[in-house]
Amino acid sequence: MASQLLLIEQSFNSRYSVDVREALDEFSESFTITDPSISGHPIVFASRGFLKMSGYSKDEVIGQNGRAFQGPRTNRRSVMEIREAIREERPIQVNLLNYRKDGTPFWMLFHMSPVFCKKDGRVTHFVGVQVPISRKPRRSVSGIERSSVDLSEDGSRLRGDILFGSCRREVCSDTLVELGRVLAIESVLDSDSRGLDIEESCEASDVDKRRAATAINNILSVLTLHSELTGRLVCEKRCSLPEQSLLSSSLNISLGRIKQSFVLTDPHLADMPIVYASDAFLRLTGYARHEVLGFNCRFLSGVDTDSLTLNRIKESIRNEQACTVRILNYRKDKSSFWNFLHISPVRNASGKIAYFVGVQMEEGCKNQDGHGLSPEKRQLSAVGAVRVAVRSLSMGADPSKS
């Protein structure tokens, strides 16, 4: 956990000059900044406005995933849309029901936008602004209402019946138009005769939408300005195509969920460098991420590493086959350990080998008491999770991505 907090600190400090937090704190708006390259896609910055609105302290929020603020009545389709926007690295505006620390829900317009690294085109952060949706009086034609088109909530009763800044029985057609779906559904609704079933769909006004967009722009300007000072520029639009060796932020997020020690290497690049290293790998070997990315795995070998074993690894890579070996590896501090290493080719959506995954397991390091899954199965499960992530995240409709 301590290392996670360190990564979170670095996520911000390494890219922006020191007074960036101060500048961001000038804004009264509620917003968070998340880092998709850190395991769990955590919040690395939360504005004062966000803390006030959510009722949480800064320490409770930093390191959390945005999901933590959703609750039982948060619309599942909206959550899915956000997930998809993150996956496709694009902005999104969506109405969302979040929950405060005291358990009360509130409606807000969530506007999220990626922040790109100017140099390599990678997503460095996502900025998410939360504009509370102001309650408006309804225009109701007696008895006739538009039905909500399921951007609404599920139909159960409200917790505590408190809806801060919320509105009821509103139309969500704009969101649908945004989705490219033109629907004109009108129907006569039995107007809530029992008073139990509250239609909790909620529509942000144009004013709310403009507020959100303006806030995003202001925040992005501050981030851009403060990145100039460190020389690691960020920008709102992707300025360069990501380098081939870079993994998409969504693949990074998926791989970040896998707990075991593993690396991905890219056989299509010269000398087959590491393109992803898990946190557990860094803990096991003692290296920092930047010390291993872009390098061939041979830095793990040392004087007493058996060359026959190394040849077996090379052989199975050449034959595009999986293999398991027991190999003597070395940490950064030169201490050695026996590594049960499993290597397997991983295919992308076109069915071609995109990477090799290497899952490490330190011999004698028993983290199970015999009641759990065997270490071998755990190792294989990491391979499976990597396969699903690589395959699923390389099948976008955009052919340049596959």
Partner: protein, 449 residues
């Protein structure tokens, strides 16, 4: 009697040719199967899940006090065991070597080219006009699979905690539910959940089994690990109760389709109608407890079964949303009403295809895959608007009935005002007049004649 010919999917290596001689090893029938002959003394991993009262929600900030389960159900157990079977070569092909893509368009249909799935198997006749058929022990069923194809046993825990036993004896008296591989996977992690396998239940939904399936989705805890069910007549090929599941980290078009709420039941279950989707269907979500949602969907399925209406079910979003889709494709096919062009693709529109994941057998179809083509196929699967309304009425009658009539906070089931129901019914009546033998005792026949 309506029949169609299709190539059955080979889900087990013991299904290939049932007459084939298998080398004898050990005792029993030599296949180390799950039948009486081999099951004595057998051990399989056992995962006991915690029965949840509340509907699952993502772990909030307060949700950290509950300790980590001994084994992560999906990420460790299921994937670990599945990868193990892959490395042991139990699958008929490497599904990760099958090309797949998201088809450009608004809906994001997914296409996969899978040339190996239907090789080496002759078309077989399937009866498609009976949703309920008795279990036939002479045909292939899951008690005949080899134990190596079974990944683990899956059951509710006794004490409200998650338990995992790497080697648990198979308790024949208690008829365990098992998760087995599908040796013809359509995606990574493709498995079959076979509830109470030794009871040899036919392919029909009951309350307990559906609840078990919902629990499995919740236990996986990943919105991209979904479960599906095909009834007989809706492209199930094995008449032994099973759900399918696999892992594909892409949203399905059906999950993205908008829906219009039409009712909220007393138990908090919300029912909506799918909109702007080629197949008409209902979406069930919410409910104060998992049982509320499970019972409502089960009642709806049981109603369809009783009325001989073939259907498919998709359990999505960790068990929080369930899609129910009555269909009539196989019936149309049997009646010769499906165009040769569609039949040539040999796509069997079962639950995954209906959800928007199209498994294509010919390279040509894969390369030419378009949103329009997918839509055209699925539109053939759907009931007509008029027929769908009738079926919905049956379902609501059934749900209300079990709710003692005080059931649903009336929002009334509404028709779109711009549709002229009469003309539609008429058109459908002419087109479908031969179909009334599918349903007994409903308005269908009254409309038709």
């Amino acid at each position: 009697m309506l029949r169609i010919k299709r190539v059955p999917t080979v889900v087990s290596n013991y299904q290939k040719e049932e007459t084939e001689d298998v080398a004898r090893r050990g005792g029993g029938c030599g296949r180390n199967c799950l039948n009486k002959c081999c099951i004595q003394g057998a051990q399989l991993p056992l995962y006991a899940f915690k029965k949840l009262n509340k509907i699952v929600s993502d772990k909030g900030l307060a949700g950290h006090e509950s300790g980590e389960p001994p084994v992560a159900f999906l990420d460790s157990l299921l994937l670990g065991e599945w990868e193990d079977r892959m490395q042991r070569g139990l699958f008929r092909y490497d599904v990760t070597a099958c090309e797949t893509k998201v088809i450009p368009g608004n809906h994001g249909f997914i296409a996969q080219l899978n040339e190996g799935r239907h090789l080496k198997k002759r078309p077989t006749e399937f009866r498609v006009d009976k949703v309920l058929q008795p279990f036939d022990g002479n045909k292939f069923n899951f008690t005949k699979v080899g134990q190596e194809e079974v990944l683990f046993q899956f059951e509710a825990s006794d004490d409200g905690e998650v338990h995992f036993f790497p080697n648990a004896p198979v308790d024949v008296e208690n008829s365990p539910s098992v998760v087995a591989i599908n040796v013809s996977p359509i995606e990574y992690g493709h498995v079959l959940l076979v509830p109470r396998i030794l009871e040899c239940l036919p392919q029909k939904i009951d309350h307990d089994s559906f609840l078990l399936a919902l629990h499995m989705a919740a236990e996986a805890g990943n919105p991209y690990f979904r479960l599906g069910f095909n009834s007989l007549g809706a492209f199930a090929t094995i008449n032994h109760l099973h759900f399918q599941a696999y892992y594909l980290a892409v949203p399905f078009p059906i999950e993205k389709a908008p829906a219009k709420k039409i009712a909220t039941l007393d138990g908090g279950v919300k029912i909506s109608k799918l909109l702007n989707y080629p197949v008409r269907g209902l979406v069930f979500e919410g409910g104060y407890t998992v049982e509320d949602l499970s019972n409502t969907v089960s009642d709806a399925c049981i109603c369809l079964q009783a009325n001989n209406i073939p259907y498919n079910v998709l359990i999505a979003d960790c068990g929080r949303r369930v899609f129910l889709l009555p269909q009539c494709y196989a019936e149309k096919q049997a009646l010769g009403e499906v165009s040769a062009e569609l039949l040539d693709t040999q796509v069997n529109p079962a639950v995954w295809e209906i959800s928007g994941h199209m498994v294509l057998k010919r390279k040509k179809d894969y390369e030419e895959a378009s949103e329009e083509n997918a839509w055209r196929l699925l539109a053939e699967v759907s009931l007509s608007e008029a027929r769908f309304e009738e079926v919905c009425a049956l379902i609501f009658e059934a749900i209300e009935g079990v709710d003692n009539g005080k059931g649903y906070a009336a929002e009334s089931s509404l028709e779109e005002p711009d549709v002229n129901p009469e003309s539609l019914e008429e058109a459908d009546a002419i087109k479908n007049s031969s179909r009334c033998n599918m349903v007994t005792g409903t308005q269908e026949c009254i409309v038709m004649h």
